[in-house]
């Protein structure tokens, strides 16, 4: 099974074609395509490609929706100080469906050494 490790929003995700993932909010609209250029690794069976990131490799994904995560409540409390605060927060996410993974220029299976 071919998969790629991509990085977006400071997090790394392991994705294969057809996967649906939630990533940190990206500035796009539903129905549009996004291209993630930061592909850190690509594996296709025995073939491994590494890079930081791999030159020319990209993952294309379709934006399904801009959504919000479940609400989390931040409750702060300091004892004996009469202090408490309640804050709600919903993380903004972009739901992506991975369309294609391309490694770009062909490279040897081993990491290039100089």
């Amino acid at each position: 099974m071919a998969f790629a490790i991509i990085k977006t929003g400071g997090r790394q995700y392991r994705v294969a074609e057809g996967d649906t993932i939630d990533v940190d909010l990206l500035e796009t609209e539903p129905g549009k395509q996004v291209v993630i250029g930061e592909v850190l690794m690509h594996a296709d069976g025995d073939k491994l490609t590494h890079g930081a990131p791999i030159d020319g490799a990209k993952v294309t994904a379709e934006v399904i929706e801009q959504r919000k995560d479940k609400k989390v409540v931040a409750y702060k409390f300091k004892r004996r100080k009469g202090y408490h605060r309640t804050l709600g927060h919903r993380r903004k996410l972009t739901r992506l469906k991975i369309k294609s993974i391309s490694v770009g220029a062909k490279k040897s299976t081993k990491k290039e050494t100089d």
């Binding site: 490790i5 594996a43 409540v73």
Partner: protein, 127 residues
């Protein structure tokens, strides 16, 4: 002067707490006096533990990585050094996941880290 009552508001306030305490054990879900404390602590700990969860998972991944690395004849500490030398920037979450679900890929990553480590130690000795 008419008597001022605040009963509806007080009842609603207590009901709000009891609603949050649904599913708690025993009187902590039924009696306001205990539910108040329970929900307060629940939310307080949830807020704190969302942060500690990040540390806990990192620790877990490192333990898994260490176990998997030792199975491949290298310690975690050396592996981390080797990965840096090989400029493999995969994070610990990904590496630990690979170690569990895709041993072959993980083994080849370790191999690269070992090669980079060898090269590094040779170059420092020469210098």
């Amino acid at each position: 002067m008419p008597r001022a009552t605040n009963a509806p508001a007080s009842r609603e306030r207590r009901r709000r707490i009891l609603r949050k305490a649904k599913g708690y054990r025993g009187r902590r879900s039924k009696l306001f006096r205990y539910a108040k404390d329970a929900t307060m602590k629940g939310q307080y700990w949830a807020y704190r533990d969302r942060k500690t969860r990040k540390r806990n998972f990192r620790m877990l991944w490192i333990q898994r990585l260490n176990a998997a690395a030792r199975a491949n004849g290298i310690t975690y500490s050396r592996l981390a050094e080797g990965l840096k030398a090989a400029s493999i920037v995969l994070d610990r979450k990904i590496l630990a996941d690979l170690a569990v679900t895709d041993e072959k890929t993980f083994a080849s990553i370790i191999e690269q880290a070992k090669v980079a480590l060898d090269k590094k130690s040779k170059s420092t000795k020469a210098a």
